[in-house]
Symmetry: C2
DNA sequence: AAAATCACTTGCAAATTAAAAGTAATTATC
DNA sequence: GATAATTACTTTTAATTTGCAAGTGATTTT
């Protein structure tokens, strides 16, 4: 994979140079919303990413400073993946994607309900969740 | 291209089933921020999309109800592409991507300045721009 | 009538993805 | 303490997608 390609100076284009595929943002989603943190965790997600693709995406996200690899506290056989501040800051992007999907695609009632709650005070949710994530990933 | 794949019920995943590549959101960007509306316009963008890729993405976006093809008022040789409401509603997503890129990647001073303005009142900007786009694409 | 423009399509090589099997280190089990 | 699981990958190979270049056919301009 050529991760270094910077196709233009456009902010959207530059962001897509990193995340413009079907998998990278799902890893971020798992880290932010599902408390997943290991290679095995990510493999278990519903979308069933292939092992080699997962490895290449984790490497790419690490190279781009979005995630970090750490020793797992429970076992030397495990690796702990955490979000950097750069990664945590993707929360607003993922939230707006959620809102768009809720409005324009068919989404499960449970998630709809959750999003309706979040929508009541976006800024507050972002602040609270960001703080939570920073605390969670900071100790490490 | 298989556009029908719905990998899971997750809103993020479903959105990526449509936009999870390096090009689709750039077309939306061009429609929202650059006033582009023809095949030739999109080809001229800095990222230099290949002609066959552009054609396949335009088809995919149309099939997904994000854009529409119309007769061009100026010429029968041209085709006018416009955003649907579903497409216009991607504005908040693109804005948050902009903000993320501005914070974490190197972005030109001019764009930084523009974004700083937008940030002062996000909601207002979104409302104004949305209204503008709806008016623009509604007459057609 | 001829040349240019416009929106594509086609053909092919190169790159990426996906599926499956394999590996090495560590940990749990008998 | 040996054996089987688990964990995080890597490797291999086939299928799909991308990217480049060269068409094509319908308009439009010269």
């Amino acid at each position: 994979m050529n991760n270094k390609a910077n196709r233009s100076g456009c902010p959207i284009s530059s962001m897509l140079d990193i995340f413009g595929d079907k998998w990278s943002l799902l890893i971020i989603r798992d880290l932010i919303f599902s408390g997943k943190s290991t290679y095995g965790d990510f493999l278990k997600s519903d979308e069933k990413i292939a092992t080699n693709i997962l490895a290449s995406r984790l490497l790419s996200l690490e190279e781009n400073g979005v995630i970090k690899k750490l020793e797992h506290p429970d076992s030397k056989a495990k690796v702990l993946y955490i979000l950097t501040d750069k990664g945590i800051d993707l929360l607003p992007v993922l939230l707006e994607i959620h809102f768009w999907s809720e409005k324009h695609l068919s989404i499960s009632p449970e998630i709809q309900l959750l999003l309706k709650e979040v929508k009541k005070d976006k800024e507050k949710f972002i602040k609270t969740k960001t703080k939570e994530l920073k605390a969670m990933f900071d100790v490490k």
